[in-house]
């Protein structure tokens, strides 16, 4: 039963062609991952890329099991070392706005063919920007404040998320915004393993995500600014359409428009926060989520 479910999951996620690169078969990886973490009642949640996501139970509580398949070679092994370090760091974090890591990162295989870990299971939905809610100033402020709280935990540990995008933000049933897939996952992504391409989701990348750059905490701040800008205006601050190279060029050469240029009714202090997040030069942004949070708390919306 497990085997067929995984097989379907892998094929649906279009990673079957990569399976052959692993020293272990996907079924062996899956079996060992389940055994190592102790989860039961495992069902696929989300296919995609080289990362497999399952829902399961641990001691009767719902959890998320993540499996990242690794290519052989030193780049992957270096990424693995960084991932272990960051999982260890983030496992110590307890924030309602950052998904909880419930286990260490566990290597699968003698020369690891995969790495697995457990996260808390969140209800609600990924951020659906266009249709899930009315993006008033108050709601955009809540989004920024919640995500800044979660990111501040990462940045305090010198962990950079690197891919703040709607798919990595959960809006829970009780109204919290929660960051998922914190930094360590990015180290393990296929894109990161190449050593050339940067992780990130088109439309939600910072100038430092352009190949040759190196994302920092200020890059996450830029990503948060994109989310806020997009929510409030319905548009990307830097147009991602068309040729990727042209998008990269725009990211590095073009200053995002002021949010009030598109929506003049945006609250002034909120607009200042969004505009500063979206400064093309990292030195002119809030340099990390803590600094952004300090600003937000001093605004009228923050005091309300």
């Amino acid at each position: 039963m497990r085997r067929s479910r995984l097989r379907q999951h892998l094929i649906y996620g279009e990673v079957d062609k990569r399976v052959g690169k692993q020293e272990m078969t996907p079924d062996e990886i899956y079996e060992e991952a389940v055994a190592a973490t102790g989860v039961t009642d495992v069902t696929p949640l989300r296919p995609g890329g080289q990362k497999l996501v399952f829902r399961g139970l641990l001691a009767g509580n719902p959890v998320v099991l993540k499996i990242v398949l690794l290519d052989p070679g030193p780049v992957a092994q270096n990424a693995l070392i960084r991932a272990h370090r960051e999982v260890e760091l983030l496992a110590a974090v307890d924030s309602p706005h950052l998904v909880s890591v419930l286990s260490d990162a566990i290597d699968i295989g003698d020369e690891p063919s995969a790495v697995v870990w457990l996260e808390e299971h969140l209800d609600g939905n990924d951020l659906a920007l266009r249709n899930s809610m009315e993006w008033t100033d108050v709601n955009v402020f809540r989004l920024m404040h919640d995500l800044a709280l979660g990111l501040a935990q990462c940045h305090g540990l010198a962990v950079v998320h690197r891919d703040l995008s709607p798919g990595n933000v959960r809006h829970t049933a009780e109204g919290r915004f929660v960051i998922m897939d914190p930094g360590f996952a990015r180290h393990l992504d296929q894109t990161a393993l190449t050593g050339i391409h940067q992780p990130g989701t088109s439309g939600f990348r910072s100038p430092e995500h352009v190949p040759g750059g190196s994302p920092t905490a200020a890059s996450d701040v830029f990503g948060l600014g994109i989310l806020a800008f997009f929510c409030r205006t319905g548009q990307f601050p830097i147009d991602p359409d068309g040729d990727p190279a042209a998008y990269d060029f725009r990211l590095r050469s073009q200053q995002a428009p002021a949010v009030r240029a598109l929506k003049p009714d945006v609250d002034g202090e909120l607009a200042q926060a969004i505009d500063r997040c979206l400064q093309r030069q990292p030195a002119r942004r809030f340099f990390d989520a803590n600094e952004l949070l300090t600003y937000l708390d001093q605004t009228a919306l923050g005091r309300a």
């Binding site: 100038p207 430092e208 352009v210 040759g212 750059g213 190196s214 920092t216 905490a217 200020a218 590095r252 093309r280 030069q281 990292p282 030195a283 002119r284 942004r285 340099f287 990390d288």
Partner: protein, 387 residues
């Protein structure tokens, strides 16, 4: 204390000249250099303590700069004063390992604390923000902050460094995260050809101004060894500029850290500052302007003809300080840029007039050096910033 800071030098009388300039309001303080001032007094050179006390007695600011970036340049061997500071630990010279970084920073900070000077972290001169050395510079800055949370930080880069576009912006972004209260910024020259500034590389100096703009959003910025060119930095957000009376005080000259192979008698050329032209012209040129029209000459100089080199030293610093104060009194970058633009417009008119009337004395090359290149940098920066 915003204003003009006088760089260190070895000329006899340096301390007295600095004291007089500060007391008269023509300067606000000094940079003391490990290369120019010995820790322990030697004949004709007061000790660092005596120097610092003298400057503070006239309410001047004292900054001790170890200038490790100069020490680590190949060929730097003018170290008889530098060596008295004993700034390197058992791990050796260099900032390319954690041990070396920590040992050097601890020693530099200890010396600065002993002088009552701010903890100014040393660094290395960079040619590229993407280089291994840039990583060492970032590591050193982080260690400095770890040792002393309020440490001032240093950035030294060549024209290539300041010209490196987004890589420069990323590097500056990483540095800003260290939250230094003060950034001391230097353009290092590979070679200095003459007494006039060399701003022909518009992209490099535009990158410098862009970086100063970024750094100054949160912190104080001092642009060292820049003199009249430093006014561009003030327009971008710097609050102080390094200057002086010798070439090595007005621009970063790597040869000033070399022991001269021929230390024969040198008579410095004589110059007169033309404040309204934001320029320093040769004394024979100043004399020609005086003969042409004494009233015009007085207006362009900003006072009577300095009768001596000592008077010119004070006249130069007073001219520079006056212009810096004018710019600093303006509240926005846009206003500062416009004010400096207006000054260059007036200077252009004066150059064109003099070139037409005394072409043998004031030449197109003077205008190019002191006006055209500087204005090109200002406009490049202003255009990019929408100012």
């Amino acid at each position: 204390m915003p204003g003009v800071l006088i760089h260190d030098g070895r000329r006899t009388g340096h301390l007295g000249w600095c004291e007089r300039a500060i007391a008269s309001g023509a300067a606000n303080g000094v940079f003391m250099s490990a290369f120019s001032t010995p820790r322990v007094a030697v004949p004709r050179s007061p000790s660092a303590d005596l120097f610092a006390d003298g400057i503070r007695a006239v309410n001047g600011e004292v900054i001790f700069d170890a200038e490790s970036h100069a020490k680590l340049l190949s060929g730097s061997n003018k170290t008889e004063h530098y060596d008295t500071w004993e700034l390197w630990g058992p791990a050796g010279e260099g900032l390319d390992s954690p041990n070396r970084q920590l040992q050097h920073l601890e020693r530099v900070f200890q010396r600065q604390a002993g002088l009552g000077a701010p903890r100014l972290a040393p660094t290395i001169a960079l040619d590229s923000p993407g280089s291994i050395e840039a990583g060492y510079a970032l590591q050193t800055a982080a260690v400095a902050r770890g040792l002393f949370g309020e440490a001032w930080q240093t950035i030294v880069g060549s024209r290539t460094f300041w010209r490196s576009g987004f890589l420069l912006d990323e590097h500056i972004g990483k540095l800003v995260a260290l939250e230094s209260p003060v950034w001391v910024v230097t353009v290092s020259n590979e070679m200095v050809m003459g007494p006039a500034p060399d701003l022909v590389d518009t992209d490099a100096f535009s990158g410098l101004l862009r970086s100063i703009h970024s750094l100054s959003e949160r912190s104080r910025v001092i642009l060292t060894r820049s003199d009249f060119s430093g006014l561009l930095g003030v327009a971008a957000g710097a609050d102080s500029i390094g200057a002086g009376w010798d070439r090595a005080m007005r621009t970063f000259d790597p040869l000033s850290f070399h022991r001269a192979s021929d230390a024969g008698i040198r008579i410095p050329a004589s110059y007169v500052t033309q404040g309204a032209m934001l320029a320093v012209l040769r004394r024979d040129t100043a004399d020609a302007i005086e003969r042409l029209d004494p009233a015009l000459a007085a207006r362009l100089r900003g006072g009577s003809m300095p009768p001596s080199e000592g008077a010119e030293r004070e006249h130069h610093l007073a001219s520079l300080s006056g212009k810096l104060r004018d710019l600093s009194s303006l509240s926005t970058r846009g206003d500062k840029v416009q004010s400096l633009r207006d000054s260059y417009t007036a200077a252009a008119y004066a150059f064109d007039d003099l070139i037409a009337r005394i072409p043998g004395s004031v030449r197109g090359a003077d205008k190019k050096t002191w006006h055209d290149q500087q204005l090109a940098v200002l406009e490049s920066y202003a255009s990019a910033e929408g100012l």
